[in-house]
């Protein structure tokens, strides 16, 4: 048995490294599949995030109406109208995409705007109430993208590390052990041959 590069060149170790290589290659395959799935999910969500520009415009319009309502009713006038509006309730849940926990939001209780006094108050509340589901949808998609992209980056790093470092080094070690074992077998063969010749000469 010889020890080189911190690795003992034994048949047992060779078998173990070969098994490890097989396992790592299978792992790389699975990680690549995960990467594809994550990329697919992100692509699907990206389509939803494209609505952001439009939503931002709608939000700006709604804030424009809010400013106008402030002007028309004054701060206390509008504030007291807002005080009477029952607040919407949003609950948080989560679901899993290839092992990644993605947050999701759900409107549990919508705001009832029909009873709001004042035309201005009603118009503003209508605008914001109609924006709420869109804002929730967008923030949910953005949060999911953030989580999935983080996982995608981590998976990419793992795949690269396995492909660029772990597999080549394992292959190197296996080759090294194989070479060492071959050399040892050859040495053993020559030694045996030499011993046989010596015995034969004595005889």
């Amino acid at each position: 048995m010889s020890v080189a590069g911190g690795v003992a060149a034994t048949k047992g170790l060779l078998l173990r490294f070969r098994e490890q290589l097989q396992f790592v290659e299978k792992g790389v395959g699975i990680l690549k599949m995960k990467r594809e799935r994550l990329a697919m999910e992100v692509n699907l969500l990206l389509d939803k995030v494209k609505a952001r520009d439009q939503l931002e415009k709608e939000v700006m319009t709604a804030y424009g109406s809010l400013k106008e309502a402030y002007c028309a009713l004054g701060y206390q006038g509008l504030r007291t109208i807002a005080l009477g509006v029952e607040q919407a309730q949003v609950g948080g849940l989560s679901y899993s995409v290839v092992g990644v926990t993605v947050p999701t939001l759900q409107i549990e209780k919508t705001t009832s705007t029909a009873g709001i006094p004042s035309t201005w108050g009603y118009e503003v509340s209508q605008r914001f109430a109609s924006l709420l589901p869109k804002i929730i949808q967008l923030s949910q998609s953005e949060a999911a993208i953030e989580k999935l992209v983080e996982e995608l980056k981590s998976t990419n790093r793992k795949v690269s590390a396995l492909e660029q470092i772990v597999i080549p080094s394992t292959v190197g070690i296996i080759q090294y052990i194989e070479n060492r074992l071959y050399e040892e077998t050859l040495e053993e063969f020559i030694r045996t041959k030499h011993v046989r010749e010596t015995i034969r000469k004595r005889a």
Partner: protein, 348 residues
């Protein structure tokens, strides 16, 4: 001179005072100039030559903002209202006391809104009303525990019918309906006092306002798809130039045909230019246009009836419009609204 002989000396004195007071109001061109000031501090500077100066001078410069200014505007409005009340007597005083009660109604609405949402409210959110003119115990309402307790405090006031309608409010849960009931009580009382004055011009001015309020409320509630009976319960019960059948037609009209029904009423001229706004549900524009017409009606009335009691009524209404205008300018300047946008929100 003949018209002067028919007017009582007290009324002549009052109208003479109001002629003087009306010169303190901002004219449309003044409001236009105020809209063009670059910022809030320039606006405050411009107001220092007006009736608002005494109250404004009490605010430390670092505390000047649209919210504080709005409080000053309300304070000045209340002073203007109650000054008129204090210079009158008898049935005229009762009428102007009832007219000024709209400030009290606004306060009751504000408190009830907060209470219905379960939110706290403080007296700074209210229009300051001198104790001697308030029929409602505002501090008690503000500190009441909940909506029902708060409404219960109105039992011994002229707003007591609200207590009976609490059940209806709970069933509908719509503040707009409750506020409609409050307006109905207010205008009912005011109408009675106006009738007692035997002054056709006063009746006409109050009647127009009531009818237009009703028409705006119908348009507003129709756009929310509220049931017909709910809309009917929310209306001011007294009609002037509107007939029961016209109101019934409007309440029952489909959204698409409501404009045509409006054109068949006495007030067609107020809505005739607003077809697109009504059909597209742009009700803030409709409301603004109708209120702007009332503003111009006040100016016209002051020109046409300089010696009548209605001159004082038009003056008080213009005080309200001025309060709205200066509030809009102060808020608009603080929020950075463009001059054009701000101008479109004013009543001039």
């Amino acid at each position: 001179m003949s018209s002067l002989r028919r007017v009582s000396p007290r009324t002549i004195y009052l109208v003479a005072r109001v002629h003087g007071l009306s010169t303190h109001l901002f004219r449309p061109e003044d409001i236009g100039s105020l809209t063009r000031v670059p910022d809030l501090s320039s606006f405050v500077q411009a107001l220092l030559d007006s009736d608002y100066a005494p109250a404004l001078s009490k605010i430390p410069s670092e505390e000047v903002n649209a919210v504080r200014l709005t409080e000053v505007f309300y304070e000045t409005l209340a002073d203007r209202f109650f000054f008129i009340t204090s210079t009158t007597s008898g049935s005229v005083r009762r009428f102007f006391e009832d007219y000024a009660r709209r400030l009290e109604v606004e306060n009751v609405k504000r408190i009830l809104r907060a209470k219905s949402g379960g939110e706290p409210i403080d007296e700074r959110a209210l229009v300051p009303i001198p104790r001697e003119y308030a029929t409602v115990n505002f501090p008690a309402m503000v500190s009441s525990r909940g909506f029902e307790d708060c409404v219960g405090l109105l039992e011994a006031t002229i707003y007591s019918p609200l207590v009976d309608r609490l059940g209806a409010y709970k069933q509908l849960g719509a503040a707009v309906v409750f506020e409609g009931m409050l307006d109905s009580i207010y205008y009912g009382q005011l109408w009675e006092e106006a009738e007692g004055l035997h002054d056709g011009d006063i009746r006409k001015r109050i009647g127009y306002e009531m009818d237009l309020q009703n028409l705006l409320l119908i348009l507003n509630l129709k756009s929310r798809d509220l049931p017909q009976d709910v809309i009917e319960k929310s209306l001011i019960r007294t009609y002037f130039r509107l007939s029961e059948s016209a109101v019934g037609d409007l309440v029952g009209a489909k959204t698409g045909s409501i404009f045509e029904v409006l054109l068949r009423t006495y007030y067609a001229k107020y809505f005739s230019e607003l077809r697109n706004e009504i059909q597209n549900g742009l009700l803030t524009k409709v409301e603004h246009s109708v209120l702007a017409s009332l503003y111009h009606l006040n100016i016209k009335t002051m020109g046409a009836k300089p010696l009548g009691l209605v001159y004082t009524l038009a003056y008080l209404s213009l005080c309200e419009f001025e309060e709205r205008n200066v509030t809009a300018i102060a808020t608009g300047k603080q929020l950075g609204l463009t001059d054009d946008k701000l101008y479109s929100l004013l009543y001039i």
